[in-house]
Amino acid sequence: MSDYLIRGARLVGTDPTDLLLRDGVVHAVGEDADAPGAREVDAHGLVALPGLVDLHTHLREPGREDAETVESGTAAAARGGYAAVHAMANTDPVADTAGVVEQVWRLGREAAHCEVRPVGAVTVGLRGERLAELGAMAESAAGVRVFSDDGVCVSDAVLMRRALEYVKAFDGVVAQHAQEPRLTEGAQMNEGELSGVLGLQGWPAVAEESIIARDCLLAAHVGSRLHVCHVSTAGSVEIVRWAKSKGWEVTAEVTPHHLLLRDDLASTYDPIYKVNPPLRGADDVRALREGLADGTIDAVATDHAPHPMEDKDCEWAAAAFGMLGLETALSVVQETMVDTGLLDWAAVADRMSARPAVIGRVHAHGRPLAVGEPAHLVLYDPSATGEVRPGESASLSRNTPYAGRTLPGRVVATFLRGRPTVLDGQLT
């Protein structure tokens, strides 16, 4: 395996230095980083971050290979600077057995764009009736640690309690899609003045917040770990902040789109902006940014949700929920958090790599860029700007809400175990 000598990178935003990658690890940093014959990468002006870790990715395989495959989705991940992604369980068949999670895990190894960590379903078929064989998935080759019925809420309080208790046996975590189902039947967009004007059925904040509050109390009661998927409201941030102040093991993620986009986009009736949970108001966006800045929200997670064209090229109510996110996540975080002064690059590394790796128990990821550590890293040019062109995506789908929008920054290179998966912005 060839050595890579990265010249002049600003490690998590500090002064420029050199990095030598050898045998899958960071072999040397600074003046020691020199090796005749190593392939050199000029990284002057670039920020080096540990390879990003996504807690929330829909790879759609098996079942919806028209929207995305493990191959295409992980290629998009690598282009976004990711070294590891968690593949959500709402595939067809559902990832609720050791067989399915091992299949996804194996496809990820074969694609080799990034590490794929399958998420196991909490309940059989995501039906919310009885627990899936969580232990079998944990002990499988996939080594599942994150369990989620994402797309559907584990709304039954007893079932949620049992899941939280059960995963303690193998240090697992339940990642809850917090959505009270009765309060959101037929819901289309954030419930507020605009939903009433547009005649689109409302998805009220209370449907998210009431489940989060209940789950925090349950997690505290049984002494387990809870992770809250895609928090979207100011009230959710407050509840998570309160739970953390109690010392409870509650973590939370926010998506890039909830950090940037607001519900007023629904007035176009263009379902490219239809997502679950829905885009919220300006006060929510502000609270999410503040929560991510002060660490109440632990992680940025993409909720990358590919859909074929026909599921978006239609009227709002008929369209699918979800939007692409892997390739634009770092740029959106730069625009909303770094350029606004809310986070420095070290904190970006924490929220997009270190903490998600800890939550998902993804060993050998999210580590600092230091000698002896695994050589997963991303080289990022924060001074670049570019227009988002859906046709250039590595995803099989085109449902990005940022089409035509100019975003800052560009992923120049991504390394996985010392080997580039992306160089000069292109897949290797």
Binding site: E193, G196, G199, T268, Y269, D270, A318
Partner: protein, 321 residues
């Protein structure tokens, strides 16, 4: 006027008055032995109905025919459940046929908006009712009807009573009456008012008896009894309780000032939101609303199409017959 009529909010005060004045001229036609104008000869109007509504479709059809347009009625099965032809494919088909105007009724809010802005069709789009969003020509015909009886609506007070949450008629009326300078009070049980109603340019009341003595017109909305079912959200306890608190019966009608009108967009649930004797009372203009619908829709089609260039069918679809 804009190229499309998607929302009553798209109309300026001048636009709205122009439609109403034009409708007045169109209405005078119906008194003549020959009721037809040659204005839209050679133009094609498509009635694209994804949701059954015989009365609205016929009203638009008569309106277009009185203007000598060619009319195509297209009843599409397009719900996401029935998996019929998509909105996009239907629109592309109509475009290939050279539709100058598409009158669209759809069960999904915003579907006409999508049609107008998606480059699937280049003709004018007229919203004939979309989901729980709007029904702008209904608001225009309501305003037209009230104006004939009450004169200019500036400063007049109109109560809109019933299921505001699900009513496209209420939304369009609130916007249009506001534009025309009328005062609007929405009367409804709190469960059937949208969240955020405080931001609308209207007043809100839960007490119909208190509002009726103060209004120049009361517009009763259709309320579906199924709204009290579990699957529909249990918005009120029972049909009887709804009728007692929000229905218009003879006792309540007697609270109205003598000149005040009773309107209903139809179809009525007699016995639910309105009793039969009120519906058939002298001050009820419900039947007149229907005939005014034709004149108003003639005015809308005339104003949208008479100034615009005809739509050309693209060359590549002109295959052998």
């Amino acid at each position: 006027m804009d190229q499309h009529l998607l929302s009553a909010g798209d109309l300026t005060r001048d636009d709205a008055l122009l439609v109403l004045d034009t409708a007045e001229e169109m209405r005078s036609l119906s008194d003549r032995p020959i009721k037809k104008l040659p204005t839209l000869r050679g133009r094609t109007v498509v009635n694209l109905f994804f949701e059954d509504s015989t009365r609205t479709r016929i009203s638009f059809e008569v309106a277009a025919k009185r203007l000598s347009a060619d009319v195509i009625n297209f009843a599409a099965k397009g719900s996401s459940l029935s998996k019929g032809e998509s909105l996009k494919d239907t629109a592309l088909t109509l475009q290939a046929m050279g539709a100058d105007a598409v009158v669209v009724r759809h069960h999904a809010s915003g579907a006409p908006h999508r049609l107008a802005h998606c480059a699937w069709t280049s003709g004018s789009v007229v919203n004939a009712g979309d989901g729980t969003h709007e029904h702008p020509t209904q608001a225009l015909l309501d305003a037209f009807t009230m104006r004939r009886h009450l004169g200019e609506l500036e400063g007049r007070h109109v109560a809109v009573v019933g299921d505001v949450l699900h009513s496209r008629v209420a939304r369009s009326n609130a916007l249009l009456l506001g534009t025309l300078g009328a005062r609007v009070t929405l009367v409804s049980p709190p469960t059937l008012l949208p969240v955020g109603i405080e931001g609308w340019p209207v007043e809100v009341s839960y007490d119909l008896d208190a509002v009726l003595p103060k209004v120049d017109a009361v517009m009763m909305l259709r309320v579906q009894a199924e709204r009290m079912n579990r699957s529909n959200g249990r918005f009120f306890p029972s049909a009887r309780e709804y009728s007692r608190r929000y229905g218009l019966d003879l006792r309540r009608m007697s609270l109205l000032p003598d000149h005040a009108l009773v309107l209903h967009p139809g179809p009525m649930n007699r016995g639910m939101e309105i009793t039969a004797d009120v519906a058939d009372a002298a001050r009820s203009v419900i039947v007149e609303q229907v005939s005014n619908g034709v004149a108003t829709r003639m005015a809308v089609l005339y104003l949208l199409l008479s100034g615009a260039a005809p739509t050309q069918a693209p060359d590549h679809v002109d295959g052998p017959a």
